[in-house]
Symmetry: C2
Subunit: 410 residues, 2 copies
């Protein structure tokens, strides 16, 4: 699989975070010749927050994580790629229990603080014996410096590992946030369709961590779409090891909370954009901005309608300034629109206003913008002034998407 | 453009209908070397019913038709292909007025009984001078036997003309229903995304005709989807010339109304299936049946989620029995599901039940079914017993769809 043309030129190096150790191994779950199991071990009393898929056919790993999040404490995270664990019945739940037991034993943590994910083909149970052996092997090679290996071990159809890092200063103390993500198909708005693991050495209690994460998701992972499909396994976990020597942030009312929330939002946005840049078959990264809406939900509905339209996405792929398809996508939602108030611009170039094309419109100018790898589409609905806005990021629909998905399992 | 592999082997011959004359011409609106303007002229006092796109960015032709439908009478229908007339401002309305005036004059009908459609690229106004000349030329070669020419003149990305015909007996008198349709992309559930013109010599008053048409649409044109995109120009018109010598059917309470309603439903379903068979790039015709729902809306929501899922559609294209993707598509709606009650079968072969794959499941058997050009997917939600059901028809997502749409305008 060729690396996405939208991949960053250089992978960032993720420095160790105090209280986080990572082990990986090639367990042979499904793939040959690459690592496919990852364990993360956290310092005692590390705090965790999480957001999960809204799918009603979520699998046993998501059900397990949801049930154990309330405790707020995390000892380990265990992930395998190759097969997801969804619609697998009682053996699927047994797989989770055996994975958790193996990790608890190998890493000396309490089972109820082990969080798990499985990603890959739906409906086929990963082999439990290989998984247990893989957890043992990965737990035997823990290192604080294996973030890139972790990012690679959780990949499925991804063409590059997705990593982000940033530092902030809290009460005079530097804290680091690291994050890795996997995801490239089944990316849709009902919570990011992917796996994402974030860790920081900041000293933050679980409720404050959850508040920051839940707020960040709406305008980051819930604002991207590749193919409008929603994974059954979406999992986003944020761990704070508390090893940084600043005063503990116990709640969202703490004066230092805003700094944490800002950092969580920034790293989520960076990883969300990386997921779109690795959208299956993507050759374009498109930003869709909708403004002048009666409320944010209305702006988001129109933005998602544009971003998910196969005809808009194929026009993006062809660098075709076929703006009529954008009008079609705006018109197909149930949002009431006054065509005479609608405005549209592409790459900052006005295209339509007052119910028709703008005088002097230059298609050549818009076509030149659309040939760039990053395309900006902006529409003002004119339903309220100034009104509410929402921005969505998406990729184009290409032969590459078809190639990948007509025979994903083979 | 190669003919769809799902096209019928033979085109039906549509016999003349008393009271209907058709003229076509090559007006050079956009295409070269083919006909692109069609006029139909109807006997005096012919009755009309119509259903239109729900798009909020519908164009002037749809606005004109909606405004004049209440009169119930029709003198002519005029259609051009090549450019639609959407988001064209005041010149777009002027185009409609000039088209209507030209047809009224050439065909000696009253302007308010002329119905119009334009189909093709959105946002580019068809040249009004060529249209007026085209209406004149088409009106000069009227014939009762030009149904196939009409079906060809309204095509855009269609690979074959779509026609259907059937006869019924009303009060001892034979009546005929003919229909033509165009549509292959921008096919989605908010009313069939296409143009459809039906005519019969039955003697039916407009209110009864409208009732039969509105009822038929929900389970025919509103039950198909190719790409989830909704056209701005969808128009479905049904004309009854009243030339058949049976007693007039004035309302839905008439004892003969059921025969009319049944015929309208049957011809709508046949044409709707033809549209799916000509779905852009289609190589598979898939029927998605959902049962055991709390109500019809719930069944339809799940069926459409499966039918519109790019990952299900690419699995269809690859003849890949990747049933986990169907589970994903079921799970991504907001319909509450109990996984243990869900059943899934493909081609009549049970795949999943009781929360996991069925014992003895043979993937080879399902793969053999999926290699057929017609694929049947059935799911029982188990939310009610027997519960409500809905059936949707769709096509697969292939390289052909991408080819057609990355450069549709060139």
């Amino acid at each position: 699989m060729k690396t996405s043309p939208l991949a960053p030129e250089k992978l960032p190096h993720l420095a160790p975070i105090e209280g986080v150790e990572i082990g990986t191994t090639a367990a042979g779950i499904r793939y040959k010749g690459r690592e496919d199991v990852m364990v993360m071990r956290f310092a005692a009393a590390s705090q965790i927050a999480g957001v999960f898929t809204k799918s009603t056919t979520a699998g046993p790993p998501v059900q397990w994580c949801r049930a154990h999040l309330a405790g707020g404490e995390v000892g380990a995270i265990v992930v395998n790629s190759g097969n997801s664990n969804v619609f697998t019945g009682a053996p699927g739940h047994d797989f989770v229990h055996q994975t958790v037991a193996a990790a608890a034993s190998a890493l000396s943590v309490s089972p109820e603080t082990v969080f798990v994910s499985s990603t890959g083909v739906i409906g086929e149970l990963p082999p439990v014996d290989r998984m247990v052996a893989g957890v043992d092997a990965a737990s035997a090679n823990l290192s604080p410096d294996s973030w890139e290996k972790a990012a690679r071990a959780i990949m499925t159809t991804d063409t590059f590992p997705k990593m982000a890092t940033l530092t902030r200063t809290i009460g005079g103390v530097d804290v680091t946030f690291n994050g890795i993500a996997k995801g490239s198909g089944m990316i849709a708005p009902n919570m990011a369709t992917m796996l994402v693991y974030l860790a920081t050495d900041a000293n933050v209690a679980a409720p404050a961590l959850q508040s920051a994460l839940s707020d960040a998701v709406e305008t980051t992972f819930n604002a991207i779409t590749v193919d409008s499909d929603t994974s059954t396994s979406d999992t986003l976990l944020l761990v704070a090891t508390g090893q940084a020597k600043h005063a503990r942030i116990a709640s969202a009312k703490d004066p230092d909370y805003a700094e944490i929330a800002g950092a969580v939002h920034a790293i989520c946005l960076e990883l969300a954009h990386l997921v779109v840049r690795d959208g299956e078959g993507a050759t374009k990264f498109a930003e869709i901005r909708v403004s002048g809406a009666r409320d944010v939900a209305e702006a988001k509905k129109v933005a998602m309608s544009i971003a998910n339209s196969p005809l808009v996405k194929t026009a993006l792929a062809g660098s075709d300034p076929n703006w009529g398809r954008i009008m079609m996508a705006i018109g197909k939602t149930d949002v009431e629109i006054d065509q005479t108030k609608l405005t549209l611009s592409i790459g900052g170039i006005p295209v339509a206003a007052n119910g028709s094309i703008v005088p002097g419109y230059s298609e050549a100018l818009v076509a030149a913008h659309m040939r760039l790898p990053e395309v900006m589409i902006e529409t003002g609905l004119g339903n309220a002034s100034p009104g509410h806005s929402f921005t969505v990021w998406t990729s184009d629909l290409t032969h590459g998407y078809i190639d990948i998905n007509v025979d994903y399992r083979s």
